[in-house]
Symmetry: C2
Subunit: 146 residues, 2 copies
């Protein structure tokens, strides 16, 4: 029930970009305190998933490819960790447990419903909201619940 460390870093990196515009990997890796090699691996993933775009060469770096209002926490987690699925039986690559006939397992709908809600809530949280300083928890909860 945990996002990976990689996704955690990615959220911090994207939030940093939302605040500072074009930034190089060395600067970000220092700010977010992630080893530079690993930061670059994450940055490449975010680039290939279309979350950020890169500019090579001297004075190059990375910048958001959409505005921070259009990017959600769900987008970043999915880009880095893949499909959000609380149980293996929800993965498109997996069959449900306990049934040879490839139909859905007994509890499939329960898992699917919970998953649906988690995805929905994570999509209501934009990077802009993440970055806006000092929003108290009660208000964040209202935002997430709409």
């Amino acid at each position: 029930m945990r996002i990976t460390q990689e996704a955690d870093y990615a959220l911090r990196i994207v939030s940093l970009l939302a605040q500072k515009g074009l930034l190089g990997a060395p600067e970000m890796s220092e700010n977010v305190k992630v080893p530079q090699g690993f930061a670059m691996k994450i940055l490449r993933k975010l680039t290939s998933e279309g979350i950020i775009r890169s500019k090579r060469g001297v004075n190059g770096g990375y910048a958001l490819s959409r505005s921070s209002e259009e990017l959600t926490v769900a987008d970043i987690i999915e880009a880095v960790d893949g499909e959000i699925a609380i149980s293996k039986c929800l993965l498109s690559t997996h069959d449900c447990l306990n049934n040879p006939d490839k139909s859905r397992c007994r509890y499939h709908n329960v898992f699917a419903s919970v998953n649906e809600i988690i995805k929905e809530r994570l999509s209501r949280l934009t990077i802009k909201t993440m970055v806006d300083a000092n929003i108290p928890m009660e208000e964040l909860i209202k935002i997430i619940n709409n």
Copy 2:
């Protein structure tokens, strides 16, 4: 963002107990299709966490220690996988990233809010609801959202 296979099995095992009453490990392991040794490990965890109670000896087995209306999906996941925490920085054993002064990290509240909501929703889903056959997804979603 995934519960472990162990927690998945645990949910199925508990649901089975909710339907059938006192049941032995061999029977459950067959029904849920989990290796018996592993099933017993899970059963011991559930027992020590007070979710189920055990009876030793011939004609022994396991049964729910509370009614299926009082047991929630959140209870089972927590019993098996431990504290529900979407980011390491929410774990009681961990400090937030990025701050030597042990205060909370910049995005702590965001993670905490999301986590709060996930826990809340998982607590609205009882084992009884899990077991009730054929509840359509829209209705499940209503139940989870209250």
